[in-house]
């Protein structure tokens, strides 16, 4: 068993992970985003920025940019795909388990941070710019 991942290398680098890493969906930035937020994973130097446009409560455009390992970048790509067209409230409700389900791989403690960086960035952005802290603590 590999130390870095939950289940070994072949489990980690599944087809869909590599596909999203090498052919990311929604990569880029938005001209004048309604929400923009950037966060890093200081341990690895992964960096993700998420830009969102929201119209009538609906995310009608989302882009991510940044650098990092395949897990962090694939997660961002998958997350963008999942939230485009959803309402901001729906996006806020995405949990850590939902994100891991999207990734569909088992992550060890170190790579977990990579896998969750995009979600963390999205949430910080979504809450940071549209609501005061504490307004919706349980989401």
């Amino acid at each position: 068993m590999s130390g870095a991942s939950g289940g070994g290398m072949d489990d980690l680098y599944r087809e869909h992970i590599l596909d999203h890493y090498q052919h990311p969906r929604n990569r880029g930035t938005l001209e004048r985003p309604y929400i923009t937020y950037e966060d890093t994973n200081p341990l690895c130097g992964d960096r993700i920025r998420m830009d969102l446009n929201v119209r009538d409560g609906k995310i009608d455009a989302v882009r991510f940019s940044g650098t990092g390992c395949s897990i962090s970048q694939a997660a961002a790509s998958m997350l963008c795909e999942a939230i485009e067209g959803k309402t901001l409230d729906e996006a806020k409700k995405i949990s850590r388990d939902d994100m891991l389900e999207l990734l569909g791989i088992e992550l060890g403690p170190v790579r977990l941070k990579c896998g969750l960086l995009a979600l963390k960035t999205l949430k910080a952005g979504a809450y940071g710019m549209t609501q005061w802290p504490g307004e919706d603590e349980d989401a």
């Binding site: 870095a4 070994g8 290398m9 980690l12 680098y13 590599l18 596909d19 390992c69």
Partner: protein, 416 residues
Amino acid sequence: MKASDTATASLDARAVREQFPIFRAERAKPLRYLDSAATSQKPDAVIEAMDRYYGTINANIHRGIYRIAEEATAAYEDARRRLADFIGARSPRELIFTSNSTAAINLVAYAWGRSQLEAGDAIVLTVMEHHANLVPWQILAAERDVELRFIPITGSGELDLAALPTLLADGRVKLVGAVHISNVLGTVNPIAEIARQAHAAGARMLVDASQSVPHCPVDVQALGCDFFAFTGHKMLGPTGIGGLWARRELLEAMPPFMGGGEMIREVKLTGSKWNELPWKFEAGTMPIAEAIGLGAAVDYLRSLGMERVFAHDRELVAYAMERLREVPGLTLLGPSEDKRGGVIAFTLDGIHPHDVATVLDDDGVAVRAGHHCAMPLHEALGVPASARASFHCYSLPEEVDALVAGLHRARKVFAR
């Protein structure tokens, strides 16, 4: 490959390896440990020395007047003597035990820096510093309104010494700090020359020797420095112990860093007299077993011979560079083999260092991936992160082969 039966024979790394229990341990895949720059493995001799202390003479030092307390004190002070001698100190009084390099540098920043530096002064560091020799000075700089200046690096990952005279020119620099061997680039820096220029400009010289003391012969007198920090766990010793060497007159003049037991001579309710060197800087119960273990590590390294340890590192790094150049899309960071120690960092096109390390881990190859606590250096190099292989006396060429095979495999996984 090597002529092992002459007086100057190279290191017999295979025999050395047998003396490290971690390599004898049963495991599913053989351990190919290429992360000695992060921490070294520990030989039996070190582990046994610590066990002996705990099993036979465990007592607090400098206090008890019974036999095992005296023996423990003698073992602790003996370790200090051996370490002082190992780095060329004139007296063991100049060697202060700290918990690691980071603590040693912070000791200088707090005790010396805060008593000597004032607004308008400047400190010169280098772009290739480990955060341990950067952040303590940033904190001091912000507190005292002191300016930080940096020696840049050249395209080949060496210090650009042409910049130094200008950095020192206005006479405001009170300290120059530099890493002896870079933990990322492997570059061996010309400390003696930097120290000479620092002194001519009226500045003190601090050396971060975290990667040099473990790997090559060092002599603080020949280096001409004033402060010299190192860490035990990278030199086959335990974690939790390291050292600061400094010139006696500087240590005498410095106020203590931490107050408490052991560092005092006489305590009244409203004031105290400091103990003499080196104990003035060793407040509280020290890591006694660790100091004794570090003493055993010094003996062990000496038995190998530091010239031979360094030659072994360099032989491996030269071999690694040759083999790594075979890997398509691989970029080596840092200078040519003749200018570096046993550290080699690289990037691989289209594959993040983290993913490289994960694929390698699957083959039992342990390398470090990330910024190696040198974020400004990576920024200067224009890469967000790198993968790093590093060696010590127990490292073998077939571990380099496993690394190279793993890199080819990583390319295959990511080739789409």
